[in-house]
Symmetry: C2
């Protein structure tokens, strides 16, 4: 559905510059040579983009190393600032986290990933740090499955055509037929539970946030350590989670 | 100090493309004509950048309107993902917010602004929604004053040369000499208190987060409604706030 990147309208230099910014997500400080290696662009090309970013205040130089400045958040923040959802969600998640004593999050689907747009952390039970902007493969997460369960059939086919279903832990469900059956179950019961499929020791339960038309636009979840004194049955967390998601859905 | 934007190395088309992305921070859905008006670029130029963004999945079209997708967060959050500070701060802020029953934040200085890099919200006492990436003029905020108080003399002169000291509320301190004297006081006492200078009804207290070399790298604050049953003297909030900031400073 996306317009071709070989169209005459496509601005190659803009695309390359964005690639340079994204490459710093992996390695925060790089020399020109390292950026060239990370992007596959020539060192001379990289030099021009880095120069431009420094001129505009998006990047700073230190010795021969370059790093992004907080100004680049203006680019990503333009998305967040434009989402009425984000504004509604933060206080709701804060109350929910306090009530449950657990971390809570809201995410949306972007391509084959879930992307966090809000999060309230209580303790760090995940080895991976999660902040707003973090992404995970949708099929391996409770929020992702709620979002996939809310897709129209055609969009779900597109998802499976594009997704790379590989193990994240040795418990990750990676069989398309098994996942489709799980999504059917989630659609029926209205929530998703995932245990140790994204990270060993971690379980989570997620429910949909719907707009006025009843379309799933985001998912809300809470995560617990499966080894703690957490309720064996995650569905005990469901009533307050559902109430919080409904509060957001009703305000949309 | 920044390299010139008229250098042969400067990639004008990249700079223009970034400007197109940033313009969506003000207005989330725009037609090509509206983007052209917002950026001052021609409609034909805007069309090429928007086409490129759609091709790369950073933007999507709906009727004749365009909006950013969550993928743009990959650009802004490359910065956040690269900050060890962000990883440390979230659980500390969550505990602090719960202990104080108040919203807490961490921000850094970027140009003449403070930019939020972490936030835990309890209630929305501000009319303005604050998320990660939000920026305010440094001189009018408690975190900004802590950060300015930590600058070397030369950098502080640069700040005052660049800053536009205008009223935010009718209580905002905007006189350079008065602000410099206030910064001296903050440097001596180790914290900043701001009452209703950023928003009527809102007060906040901030302390520095320092790296191993003792340099202020960020500020942590808590905000309270001045009209609520909040402690008249904000310094009552100081011991837990200071303990939380020290916890982060010691881990850096």
């Amino acid at each position: 559905m996306q317009p071709a990147t070989n169209s005459a309208l496509f601005v190659q230099s803009f695309a390359r510059g964005l690639e340079v910014i994204e490459s710093f997500g992996q390695t925060p400080r790089m020399t020109l040579t390292e950026v060239a290696e990370a992007t596959g662009l020539s060192r001379a090309t990289v030099r021009r983009f880095v120069h431009t970013l420094v001129s505009l205040g998006y990047m700073r130089a230190n010795d021969k190393h370059f790093a992004l400045t907080p100004k680049v958040m203006n680019l990503g923040f333009a998305y967040l600032a434009s989402q009425p959802l984000v504004e509604l969600v933060d206080p709701v998640l804060a109350n929910l986290s306090q009530e449950l004593g657990q971390s809570t999050s809201v995410s949306v689907l972007d391509g084959t990933d879930v992307v966090y747009i809000a999060r309230q952390e209580t303790t760090s039970i995940m080895r991976i740090n999660i902040t707003v902007g973090t992404r995970f493969p949708a099929y391996a997460t409770s929020m992702g499955r709620v979002l996939l369960a809310g897709l129209e059939a055609e969009k779900l086919d597109e998802y499976f055509a594009a997704a790379d279903l590989t193990d994240v832990t040795d418990r990750t469900l990676t069989d398309e037929a098994a996942l489709r059956s799980e999504l059917g179950q989630i659609r029926k019961q209205g929530y998703a539970v995932v245990k140790e499929e994204l990270e060993v020791g971690l379980a989570s339960v997620a429910v949909p946030i719907r707009n006025r038309a009843g379309v799933t636009v985001a998912a809300m979840n809470t995560s617990v350590a499966v080894t703690s004194q957490a309720p064996e049955d995650l569905t005990e967390l469901l009533p307050p989670l559902q109430a919080a998601a409904d509060e957001v859905s009703n305000a949309l």
